[in-house]
């Protein structure tokens, strides 16, 4: 009790964490719960595997990573980690600089799609699900040979420069919005199209053990998160400024505000369409543990919500 | 005049020594069944053709080479390894430590022994360096010295130590006649003064007779004892004398004329 270590990655998706940090919300809620002396530590980690390793080694208490790394960890630890909350609903776009590419069917073997961590990242899973939808069950791997592992910034730079074989990118906010500013780039699909509605790609998760040992800290964090999400939805301009301030970002605040204000984007703790991933991963054999509903891998606090 | 004087205890004693080197092509026997001994204050000179194993014997006495058979005892105790009680002047030019100046090289053994104060060490080193004629390059590094100067610095480093056993491998080979004579004199003076025991290798028969109280002659590779001679009666005064020249010629003949060992021994 009294110590919480939270990991963070780059991007506006993690805005609730920035807000919590900026407004000292955990401390506030801890106090309300009678926990006076709470210490919050922030760890900047990148990559789901590093974050999972940090969580498992007890170096952090709250992990923030994509649904893919989470489900893998959940499966491998046989349910010893669970989702605390989603971060936000945000779409991932498949964008391309090749005007001939309109649907997945148009991809020829030479049209390379960049995404982080071929085969395992959220983006890779989305592409597989899209392929399954497009080409039918069992064909989810059809475009695997077109994919290239490349971190988002490098992929975006490659796409924008237009001088490499990379013509497409299954991207992420804010890279996709930055890329789409270029008139040569167009969108092929959004993850919302593939999954049929808003998707929460990234989650906060913790071990059940930690939660059992630190119920109050956990509660304070959860409340803080809820407040932060609500505050963002209510104060989008201030939220953008918070992001710029906390991240010391050099991005234009107006641009960040436009990201937050995008109709596709919604900050909420409630998971959306996570079960589609769990089901897909189990069906395709990527995880061995079967979930019957999204509630199997989330903490009770969320179960009252209208999640999926 | 066979050099056996069982009354005086031996300072070092080499007993049926055989030395071998392992090479990829097989074992090379460098020294075969050589025995000698030197008592306190004696100066034993090894003489023998190039490659006969003189340096190897010296290294074995210094403790760098383990005998294939036989024994080496220094003051009665078997040699287990090298030590500052037996200071060596090597044959190689690169025996000065290149990262030390000439002065530092000479001071080095004194600092290691650390019985003297810094000032004393400095003074002693300077005196000895003046004796070998290196006062001009006290603070030069070894790589700026000529071959002979390197050798002189190495000699100075050995002479400064007060060691009571000195092992010197052709120390004067790269010196001109005058410097050589001077340093021979210095060495003999020091020997008289300090009474150290010396194992000395040289190719000059005259030098051997002059320096040594005992000569030990070795046959060509692998080195075997030809004979031992007592030359303690020869001193600096005999330089150029007929007596010395006669002995020189005798030694030359012993070394380089093929005869059986027994004959040689009889002859002595």
């Amino acid at each position: 009790e009294g110590l919480i270590r939270i990991s963070q990655q780059f991007g506006t998706l993690y805005l609730p964490l920035h807000v919590i940090r900026d407004q000292n919300l955990i401390e506030k809620h801890a106090k309300a719960l009678g926990l006076d002396d709470v210490k919050v530590e922030w760890a900047q980690l990148s990559g789901g595997d590093a974050i999972n390793a940090a969580l498992l080694s007890g170096s952090i208490d709250i992990a923030a990573a994509g649904i893919g790394p989470f489900l893998t960890l959940w499966g491998r630890t046989d349910g010893a980690v669970k989702i605390v909350a989603g971060l936000a609903n945000q779409p991932n776009y498949l964008i391309t600089s090749n005007p001939d590419l309109k649907t997945l069917k148009d991809f020829k073997p030479t049209d390379k799609i960049a995404l982080p961590a071929v085969g395992v990242s959220v983006q890779a899973r989305i592409l597989q699900m899209a392929a399954e939808k497009e080409f039918g069950p069992g064909n989810q791997g059809k475009l695997d040979n077109n994919t290239i592992s490349l971190p988002h910034p490098d992929a975006t730079a490659a796409l924008l420069s237009g001088s490499t074989e990379i013509t497409s990118h299954l991207s992420n906010t804010p890279f996709q919005e930055q890329a789409l500013k270029d008139p040569k780039i167009h969108k092929i699909f959004s993850s919302y199209d593939v999954l049929g509605g808003p998707v929460t790609p990234t989650y906060l998760y913790a071990t059940t053990e930690w939660r059992d040992e630190n119920p109050k800290t956990f509660q304070a964090f959860f409340e803080a998160l809820k407040e932060a999400s609500a505050w963002i939805e209510a104060n989008k301009k201030a939220a953008a400024e918070t992001y710029v301030r906390v991240e010391k970002s050099k991005l234009d605040p107006a641009f960040i505000q436009s990201l937050i204000e995008s109709p596709d984007s919604k900050f909420t703790v409630v998971p959306s369409r996570s079960f589609a991933f769990a089901d897909f991963l189990y069906r395709t054999g990527a995880i061995k543990k079967k979930a019957d509903s999204w509630k199997d891998y989330t903490f009770d606090e969320l179960h009252g919500e209208n999640g999926s | 005049m066979l050099a056996r004087d069982p009354v005086l205890p031996a300072v070092f004693e080499v007993d049926r020594l055989t030395l071998e080197y392992r090479t990829p092509a097989g074992v090379v026997r460098a020294v075969d069944d050589v025995s000698f001994r030197a008592a306190e204050g004696e100066r034993l000179v090894l003489l023998g053709p190039s490659g006969c194993g003189k340096s190897s014997i010296l290294k074995a006495v210094a403790g760098f080479l383990k005998p294939a058979s036989g024994a080496i005892r220094v003051r009665g105790r078997e040699v287990k390894g090298p030590g500052p009680d037996r200071i060596v002047v090597f044959q190689e030019f690169d025996q000065l430590l290149p990262w030390k100046t000439v002065r530092q090289n000479v001071e080095f053994p004194l600092r290691m022994a650390s019985r003297l104060s810094k000032v004393e060490i400095r003074e002693r080193s300077e005196i000895i360096l003046k004796k070998v004629g290196l006062e001009r390059v006290l603070d030069g590094y070894p790589h700026t010295l000529s071959g002979g100067m390197k050798q002189r610095a190495a000699i100075a480093r050995a002479m400064v130590t007060d060691a009571d056993v000195l092992l010197m491998d052709e120390p004067f080979a790269a010196l001109d006649a005058l410097t050589r004579t001077q340093l021979q004199g210095e060495l003999l003076d020091l020997a008289e003064e300090l009474g150290f025991t010396l194992l000395f290798v040289t190719h000059s028969i005259e030098e051997a007779i002059l320096i040594g109280t005992k000569l030990h002659l070795l046959s060509p590779h692998p080195g075997r004892t030809i004979t031992s001679l007592d030359t303690s009666e020869f001193g600096r005064g005999d330089l150029g004398s007929a007596r010395l020249e006669a002995l020189s010629r005798e030694v030359h003949d012993l070394l380089f004329t093929k005869r059986t060992d027994s004959k040689a021994v009889q002859h002595v």
Binding site: D49, A53, L56, L73, T77, S149 | H143
Partner: protein
């Protein structure tokens, strides 16, 4: 480093002593002992920590290695990586030798090379990535560029240092017999600097692996042609830590083989035989 290492050990009479001597002098047996000891430490540490997902035991890793080799074509992936690696390695070494040889001839090239080395050596390979992509596109070519960058500078530095430490006399002898230019480098400098060059090759070998694995993780593999780095990456993402360690064990095994067999043999027939290194 015994003082007496030049000579034959004195004969000792008892068999036990002989055996001990044999064990302690035979390089292979000593190596196996060391490896067994390390494996034991690993096993105990892992058992003590008891976090198989982060740090599997030695036995679990070996089992995973066996499984990966038999069912997942690990050997083939290793070969794929090794092949790229060897290409990059050879290119780097040839380039570096050419560059260093030019530096021997011209003071300007030498200054240029030294500057390039001190500039590029500290740069992480990933920094080169966007530029490499720009010029060489995706896939093996860029991978090779990154690999060459990682390997060439340290090797060039080793060779340059070696060349600079060649004893004066040997240099003069080479000049005296009329050697100049390439034949001077090949016939004098390279053999005379061989200890440093071999050291450079060992370092280059190690860093080629480090870089290749890291580069395969970060970019440039399409999923079909996965190498060892890709194998590790995939299993790490799926939290099959025992397989991750199996992949790393593969790297170690290859490293031990190359070091213990290839480099050791080369050293034995060259620098040790020539008395240039003990």
């Amino acid at each position: 480093m015994s003082d007496l290492s030049l000579g034959r050990p004195a004969e000792k009479s008892r068999a036990a002593v002989r055996l001990r001597d044999f064990v302690f002098t035979s390089a292979i047996i000593r190596k196996i002992l060391v490896l067994a000891l390390l494996a034991l430490i690993w096993e105990l540490a892992a058992r003590y920590m008891n976090k198989p997902i982060l740090f599997p035991t030695f036995t679990a890793t070996m089992a995973a290695l066996w499984e990966a080799v038999t069912t997942e074509n690990l050997l083939q992936s290793s070969w794929a990586s090794l092949f790229v690696l060897l290409k990059g390695y050879v290119i780097s070494i040839v380039l570096a030798l050419v560059f260093v040889s030019l530096a021997v001839v011209s003071g300007f090239v030498r200054e240029l090379l030294q500057t390039l080395i001190s500039m590029f050596n500290p740069l992480p390979a990933i920094a080169l990535l966007p530029v490499a992509m720009l010029w060489f596109g995706l896939g093996e070519k860029s991978l090779l560029v990154v690999l060459v960058h990682a390997v060439m500078w340290p090797f060039a530095l080793a060779t340059l240092t070696g060349f600079e430490s060649v004893p004066e006399t040997q240099r003069l002898v080479g000049r005296n017999y009329g050697l100049r230019g390439p034949s001077y480098v090949v016939r004098i400098l390279i053999p005379a600097a061989l200890p440093s060059i071999l050291y450079g090759m060992k370092i280059a070998w190690a860093f080629a692996w480090r870089t290749l694995i890291a580069a395969e993780l970060v970019f440039g593999v399409s999923s079909s042609s996965g190498g060892l780095g890709w194998f590790i990456f995939r299993n790490r993402n799926e939290l099959f830590t025992d397989k991750v360690f199996a992949g790393l064990a593969m790297v170690i095994i290859i490293g031990l083989l190359v070091e213990g067999v290839i480099f050791r043999v080369i050293e034995n027939v060259t620098v040790r035989r020539w008395g240039m290194q003990r």
